[in-house]
């Protein structure tokens, strides 16, 4: 493992399996009456969130607290950023107080890499712009492996707003590295050019993507990042790309359906699918804590001596 977790591309296959196996052990801590272990006692973790986030921030904070780290949330809306301070200055000021790790969520791609260059603290990327969201991909893989016992050889369909999705990019890197057969699907206007070079099948037909899939992963339509019209209307989008029971019937009978959240019900996913028997969406949230505990623990140890 390197000093920081910025991209899935920084991880070897062995690193990925180590994180998943460690998460397996970490999950047990959450099932205890006393959900706390002393592992990161005396470590300080700063959660620096420049974008709204409920799930990821809460998940990191619970993970940190279960490992006994001291945590501190910097809410950007009430911080000096509003007074004009730059990202690097904010980070250097936080670092002057000697935290051990900084978890950063930022609307600009590469924000974590920038901090990594100027900070001695370990940096964990909790989502940077349209680039990557590595811990989400790790928890997705953890959830898939929990159900399917493997990742290699599975057909995994990822459907939705491909263009704006950092979850997609991290998932493609991770799932292809572990040997999955990844299909991505969305309206042509929301397919990033050149995405096939990442080793995935690209289609605009949901039926083709979902056919015999072991896993169907839906991505949110990110209205807040859309400048311009990418599809005629939400209603039409749902008609063409929304995941319904009828569409899902083409998948394998033991398919699982995933969504990184927050969901737009009736836009990318029908409510009866989101709440249905194949859905593991809330399990993903639960697994997120265990996976983040694993990442925090493994990074706290320091990089391997080269």
């Amino acid at each position: 493992m390197r000093k920081d977790l910025l991209s899935i591309g920084d991880l070897t296959r062995d690193d990925i399996y180590l994180i998943l196996d460690t998460a397996d052990a970490m999950r047990e801590v959450g099932e205890r009456t006393i959900k706390k272990v002393p592992t990161l006692r005396g470590k300080t973790v700063v959660n620096l969130f420049y974008e709204p986030s409920t799930r990821t921030r809460t998940s990191f904070e619970i993970a940190e607290k279960r490992l006994s780290a001291d945590t501190l949330n910097v809410a950007v809306a009430v911080s000096s950023v509003q007074k004009g301070e730059t990202l690097v200055d904010t980070a250097l000021n936080i670092e002057a107080m000697a935290p051990d790790m900084i978890v950063i969520r930022h609307s600009s791609s590469g924000a974590g890499h920038l901090l990594s260059r100027v900070c001695k603290s370990r940096i964990i990327n909790a989502g940077d712009g349209m680039h990557e969201h590595p811990t989400q991909a790790l928890l997705d893989a953890f959830t898939i492996r929990g159900h399917k016992k493997r990742i290699e050889g599975l057909k995994i369909a990822i459907v939705g707003d491909l263009l704006h999705s950092r979850v997609l990019r991290s998932n493609i890197l991770l799932l292809t590295a572990l040997g999955a057969d990844v299909w991505v699907c969305g309206p042509a206007t929301l397919v990033p050019p050149g995405i096939a070079r990442l080793g995935v099948h690209v289609t605009t037909s949901v039926d083709e993507a979902v056919a015999d899939a072991d896993v169907v992963m839906m991505l949110r339509i990110q209205h807040e990042r859309m400048q311009g019209a990418f599809f005629p209307s939400v209603r039409e989008y749902f008609q063409t790309f929304g995941m319904t029971r009828e569409r899902l019937a083409r998948a394998r009978p033991d398919v699982i359906i995933m969504h990184p959240g927050p969901m737009n019900r009736g836009v990318e996913i029908a409510s009866d699918v989101a709440d249905g028997p194949y859905s593991v969406i809330l399990e993903q949230v639960a697994n997120g804590v265990a996976v983040r505990m694993a990442v925090l623990y493994l990074l706290a140890g320091g990089p391997e001596a080269d």
Partner: protein
């Protein structure tokens, strides 16, 4: 490479300890075994089997990984973190008499970590310590209740326990390291 215990000796020793456990606790009421990963778990399972044979009662058996409680975590500047494995204690330890099982008792630091870990799971009535080999050199005030074999060692030596389930053979050996 001197052999301290062979397969026969290990088998008889575990049978003897099983009898001692039953004698001292006047039966199996409220008893539970918790082995410390890795080889403590194997020994705990064998003790459970021995008690079943003597007494026809199944004693619940769990596995404890103490890595998250180690006192040397985060103290090395570089190097990967020790591997964490699963703790599996599928029963409540509240008001139980817990038999904590490990292969070798040395500094006592592993047992200290295990006691802290166990207390996080509940409040047992008592915790008793079972070890196959006590090699001395304690750094903490910890003493075993059941000892397979006391072995005088020097700190430069290492005591290796091999068990069939993991290592393909039953043997305890002492090495110069």
């Amino acid at each position: 490479m001197p052999i301290l215990m062979d397969a026969d000796r290990i088998g008889r020793t575990l049978t003897r300890i099983a009898h001692e456990i039953l004698e001292r606790n006047r039966g199996v009421d409220e008893l539970a075994l918790v082995g410390i990963r890795t080889r403590g778990v194997t020994i705990a399972k064998r003790l459970a089997a021995a008690i079943l044979e003597i007494n026809h009662h199944e004693v619940p058996t769990g596995a404890l990984d103490i890595t998250m409680y180690r006192d040397d975590l985060m103290r090395h500047a570089v190097g990967p973190q020790p591997l964490i494995r699963k703790t599996e204690i599928p029963f409540s330890i509240d008001d139980k008499r817990i038999l904590l099982v490990d292969d070798v008792l040395y500094t006592g630091r592993t047992i200290r970590a295990a006691l802290d870990a166990l207390i996080d799971f509940g409040r047992p009535r008592a915790i008793q310590l079972v070890v196959l080999v006590d090699r001395g050199h304690r750094e903490l005030p910890i003493k075993a209740d059941y000892v397979g074999k006391n072995v005088p060692t020097s700190p430069s030596q290492s005591v290796q326990v091999h068990l069939t389930e993991i290592d393909g053979r039953d043997e305890v050996e002492i090495r110069e390291s």
